[in-house]
Symmetry: C3
């Protein structure tokens, strides 16, 4: 896949990516979008979310620090995004950790159109109806074949499904990509998972094949992570270098380094 | 202008700067105040904002992630600040992006005394009644002469007006400063605009001529940005170096490097 | 004290540390826990805090940006933590700055079991009933002998008391530790105090003697700070290096460098 084509489109179109996300990693989510050259906006008041979604090209929802009111605002934003036809990405952050999280995820999935469901292995397994226990917001162990879990969920929810991990799985109703980029150092920094959802939002904002866009975005992000990890003294230094590697990412390098496999 | 005199006052007096700000850049807003040697405090509960404003020397309001309740808390804080006679800075972050934002900005401007109105070109143009469309929270294009917009708004609202951008404009009812410091790298980092409001709050906390204080604060902040940009590998590295350049900023260097023009 | 034994336990057990904390430093609180190898989780919805506390090994409460509703959620989380028997750490951030803060601190202390009360000198003095004025969220001056304040409060509240500062004091009902690690650079970065509470939470999650755990955690954290300060160009660079020093901290080095004195 020529990921550079999508990277160029992001940098030229500078799409607005609207977020209703968690309060822990909200800065990093905004900043990764900005580092890719796009324009993040964070707004959650029920009085304005529909209007904000209307001027955006993608909507990213992340339930990391959810409340009941916040989920209601997400629904308003998503309904606006749905009617405008822009992609809605749901990061099911921490699904499986508490019944409340699961209930709210299913509410969102049932009441609005979610175009991309994104999580780590245990979170997606939970949403897919597998019997797992999430370890807070960090990934727990899942025994099942993850590609199969992703594909089934994509069918069941008529959505694109992204499972992030050592290898990322991106499945829609007709195809599956495996993204083999990234570095173990990402697991030692809070927010790399949340940022992945923002990156997916950024790339789907400029490309209509959502699975392709998600895979390309993840590959670019994780190539930057690989470049940063090689020079980093630890996770905090790595994070600084990763943002800069995203900002400086060369399209040709990205095309050479991308390890996206179509299954 | 001898910006070093104000910088010294900030470092010696260590004023408390109370914020009701957005959840995206709240850390950076606090940390830039701290890096200048002052003492940030963030508090938004309606039960305590008036008391907190009473122990502060400036109040910074930023509507970036506003809600109705949050604006009400801002009013309580501002009324307390007004009665104590400390400056109130309003960052009209994202004005023009949604009707809700504009309504709430005007509510604040009409119901409490705002001493400094701060925004980028399209945000201030919106508040001044010009016909513009803000691009989310990033600056859109404005055709009008910005100095004239700032001056008229300063007259109309009997306030100091700050338009940040490649050149910053600071206008009160009798004079205008242009601040020609800063670096393009600032536009690639989320939060540099929000931090500018916090810097203005910090400097107005120690100097009664608000336009002078705002111009001096912006110059110091942006000189630090210039120093950081020269050595930075990208925006994230730049940001780290900018905070440290603020912390280490030498008064004499600041006086030499400041490019404030009085009009 | 062999702090390395506790450090190893943190890294091996990777305990979940549940936080209800402030919105300013929430990222750093999560990230310091992660840098020590443990698993942070931030969740504040009243519908889920009890469940989240049940899967955690420690609960950290920080009132930095408190609201009435948020305190109520803290109580629910703490009651769940109490019934599970995991330690509850309360950072009385900004106590003394407003009456509202003090009232809410005492409510928490009276209505749920707080195992560790943590603050800077003026905050703890306020909670102990001394007559002090806190300077926002930064430490004010306290005349009284701090060890005596800590010991009396530990007796009165049947809790472990931690006073952070140039020297940290950790007192329970039968013993007192003084931790002489750390660096002045920590005072120039927003969030080092909040992170200290998260570190205490992380170490108490794996060791039942809470005073020992708190002292060991603080020593490890502050040894990392010492290592970082020696190489740092300013507070922002220091902060990056401190996280990495935590991540890379060698157990033997920690045992050699720890300056914990038992009184």
């Amino acid at each position: 896949m020529k990921v550079s084509k999508l990277l160029d489109k992001v940098r030229k179109q500078k799409p607005i990516v609207h977020h209703l996300t968690n309060w822990v990693t909200i800065y990093d989510c905004a900043n990764i979008v900005k580092s890719f050259g796009a324009s993040p906006v964070m707004a959650h008041a029920p009085e304005e979310v529909a209007d904000m979604a209307k001027i955006a090209s993608a909507l990213v929802l992340n339930i990391g620090t959810l409340t009941t009111d916040f989920i209601e605002a997400m629904k308003l934003a998503a309904m606006s995004a749905n009617s405008k036809g822009i992609p809605v990405i749901l990061d099911v952050c921490g699904a499986g950790a508490t019944p409340f999280r699961d209930i709210k995820c299913f509410e969102l999935l049932d009441q609005v159109r979610i175009n991309i469901i994104k999580g780590n292995a245990s979170e997606i397994a939970k949403i897919a109806g597998e019997n797992v226990q999430t370890k807070g917001v960090d990934a727990g162990k899942v025994e099942k074949n993850l590609v199969s879990v992703a594909r089934h969920l994509a069918q069941a929810r008529k959505a694109t499904v992204v499972i992030t991990g050592k290898e990322d799985i991106v499945a829609d109703q007709s195809k599956t990509f495996i993204v083999r980029n990234g570095d173990e150092m990402m697991t030692h920094v809070v927010g790399t998972g949340c940022m992945a959802a923002s990156v997916i939002g950024t790339f789907t904002a400029v490309h209509s094949d959502l699975a392709e866009a998600a895979a390309a975005g993840l590959a670019c992000y994780e190539i930057a992570a690989e470049q940063a990890a090689g020079k980093a003294n630890g996770p905090a230094d790595f994070k600084v270098k990763m943002f800069d590697a995203v900002f400086n990412l060369n399209g040709k390098t990205a095309d050479l380094k991308q390890r996206i496999i179509k299954k």
